[in-house]
């Protein structure tokens, strides 16, 4: 089952965040999305996960159209994600953070869990077994009954990935999983992510850490100003001059940044106070 972007477009007022992006993601492969800040990488993830609406174009998983579905429906149909800024359920235990993901499967029988304790017990045991498996993959078992918010930052990153993984999703979207991690933790993350590759699973990683991307990914998409600038294997990406330029930046970019800043100030009315002189 491929994940397909068809002429995706996302617009905020006049700001085009994603401009006519088409791409195909295949199961069994790890896809990287790279690009400078503001290129639209997170927007792609957010649209796929249903957090953002799509201005035009379609997102398909196999034959099924994903774009336009509610977020919980998308999550329920096997697309899991992490966030650029960690979003855990801070005051729930590590175990509960994972267990709640089974709501999509078990909500219909919640009344039975309440009224018939033996059923609740067995169902809970099944869920816990799955959760423990995911937690074990990330060596999080020692923290299992701690509040998620009390974990060290690096462990929280791992926990977020474990949470995304618990229902064995067919699409795994990771938005900057290495952000804020130190060198050793990034190495650990790289190893763990490599182990997540599975024949039925599409993995998409947005990342700034080029070592991690080059080491892990089979295909790489390069985004720039909302457009798909280039796609290819790590070797092809590294050899491409256009890509290098996008990262180094041209004088053009500096002008753009300046004018954007000006716009923002005008919006806040600060310019009204600037005396000419």
């Amino acid at each position: 089952m491929n994940l397909v972007f068809e002429n995706l477009r996302k617009q905020y007022g006049s700001n085009v965040a994603i401009d006519d992006v088409s791409a195909v993601f295949e199961p069994g492969l790890i896809h990287g999305i790279i690009g400078p800040n503001g290129a639209g990488k997170s927007t792609l993830i957010n649209m796929t996960a249903g957090s953002y609406t799509v201005t035009s174009g379609r997102i398909l998983l196999g034959d099924r159209q994903i774009s336009g579905l509610k977020k919980y429906q998308i999550a329920g149909s096997g697309i899991a994600r992490t966030y650029q800024n960690i979003r855990l359920f801070d005051q729930m235990t590590v175990l509960d953070n994972l267990e709640v993901c089974y709501y999509a499967d078990d909500a219909g029988l919640a009344w039975k869990e309440v009224l018939w304790p033996p059923y609740a017990k067995s169902r809970e045991a099944e869920r816990h077994a799955q959760c423990r498996k995911a937690l074990a993959q990330f060596d999080l078992l020692p923290w299992i009954s701690e509040d998620a918010g009390s974990l060290p930052y690096g462990r929280q990153r791992m926990l977020e990935i474990a949470r995304a993984l618990v229902r064995d999703p067919s699409v795994l979207l990771l938005d900057e999983p290495a952000a804020g991690l130190n060198h050793a933790e990034t190495a650990e993350l790289t190893a763990r992510l490599r182990a997540l590759r599975a024949p039925h699973r599409i993995m998409i990683i947005v990342e700034h850490d080029m070592d991690l991307v080059m080491a892990l990914c089979d295909r790489i998409l390069v985004m720039h100003h909302g457009k798909l600038l280039f796609q290819g294997t790590p070797a092809e990406v590294q050899g491409n001059t256009e890509v290098q330029q996008a990262y180094l930046g041209t004088s053009n970019d500096i002008d753009e940044i300046k004018s954007a800043a000006q716009d923002r100030r005008a919006k806040l009315g600060l310019r009204a106070r600037q005396r000419s002189g």
């Binding site: 509610k70 005051q91 509960d96």
Partner: protein
């Protein structure tokens, strides 16, 4: 192994404390029916507030939604009993028939009110429920032909269950006690179920909850409906014990007091609710001369507690199950 070092011990209470609390509760329960009626009435109003607290806590404590019109559901239950068991409409149904009717009406009211609001984000719920509580009171006050207006409905039937009278304070006491225990158990099981986990996730981060597959609107609606049901049942028993209802009992202040007792005792915790209700009910009984100062003090207490002890006076981890476990620990 590293794990044993890092794992926090499961919540425990000192054994003497567990013993003391359980013994105290048992002694109070056994002794109350033999006390003079005045004390039984105090105990009954304590139990009513505990029941209301258990109901509201689902929405406020578990799902993190602020409901300021909870008393409306209480009113719905009370007036259901009043209309179906009095001369007002000439209908005289038994208590056992009214309870399920009131539960259904309560849940339906909760869903009808929740439907437009719960799919929205933000804190509109607080303001809409606040408005709803006021509206219900206004409507009851003015629908004279049905509710007899501000005068209220007097002379409600003496309730009985399968031939056993439940009208005297001591009889109501047992009914309330059983209802509280049943509601407490049901809510406890709910909290442990997948629905309870979903509520907690919604409380923590609604968007992330939807992101892991929780249909947040439905989960919130369930919380709202269950809470309304418990509120409505509390209303039925209240009406059956007073044998008189009037709009006065269902003021906005009453709603706020129920929120208050949850917050003071400890949000999301049944022992906290009991403690909160005890403070709320027993305080004015003890400080009779200072009756009007009590709300002033409670308002202040609420602010201070939220700032210095946001979890309330009873720690969240200290539930009845922990108490019992501590008691039977080697």
């Amino acid at each position: 192994m590293a794990s044993t070092v890092l794992t926090t011990a499961p919540a425990r209470a000192p054994r003497w404390l567990a013993f003391l609390l359980i013994a105290l509760a048992a002694a109070l329960i056994v002794a109350t029916p033999f006390l003079p009626n005045y004390y039984i009435r105090v105990a009954n109003s304590l139990l009513i507030y505990i029941l209301l607290g258990i109901g509201l806590n689902i929405v406020v404590g578990y799902a993190g939604l602020l409901d300021l019109g909870f008393v409306a559901f209480y009113a719905v239950g009370a007036y259901t009993y009043a209309l179906l068991a009095s001369n007002q409409l000439g209908i005289h149904l038994p208590l056992l028939a009214i309870l399920p009717i009131a539960a259904v009406i309560g849940a339906a009211t909760g869903i009808l009110l929740g439907l437009p609001v719960l799919r929205l984000r933000g804190d509109y719920l607080a303001i809409v429920t606040l408005g709803f509580g006021e509206i219900i009171r206004i409507v009851i006050n003015n629908m004279d032909w049905l509710t007899n207006g501000p005068k209220g409905i007097p002379a409600l039937d003496r309730a009985d269950m399968l031939g056993i009278s439940v009208a005297r304070p001591s009889e109501i006491f047992w009914l309330l006690l059983v209802t509280c225990i049943l509601a407490g158990l049901a809510v406890w099981r709910l909290q442990k179920s997948i629905l309870g986990k979903a509520w907690a996730a919604i409380r923590e981060d609604q968007d992330a909850a939807a992101g892991v597959g929780v249909n947040t609107t439905n989960a919130k609606l369930a919380a709202f409906a269950i809470s309304a049901t418990i509120g409505s049942i509390a209303g039925v028993i209240f009406a059956a014990s007073q044998r008189f209802v009037s709009p006065e009992s269902f003021s906005l202040q009453e709603s706020i007091l129920i929120v208050l007792l949850i917050v003071i005792g400890g949000i999301g915790n049944i022992l906290g609710i009991i403690a909160g209700a005890a403070i709320l009910i027993l305080l004015p009984e003890v400080l009779r001369e200072f009756a009007e100062w009590r709300i002033l003090f409670l308002g202040l207490l609420m602010v201070v507690l939220i700032i210095i002890r946001p979890g309330g006076i009873v720690p969240r981890s200290l539930g009845p199950d922990v108490l019992f476990k501590s008691l039977f620990r080697r």
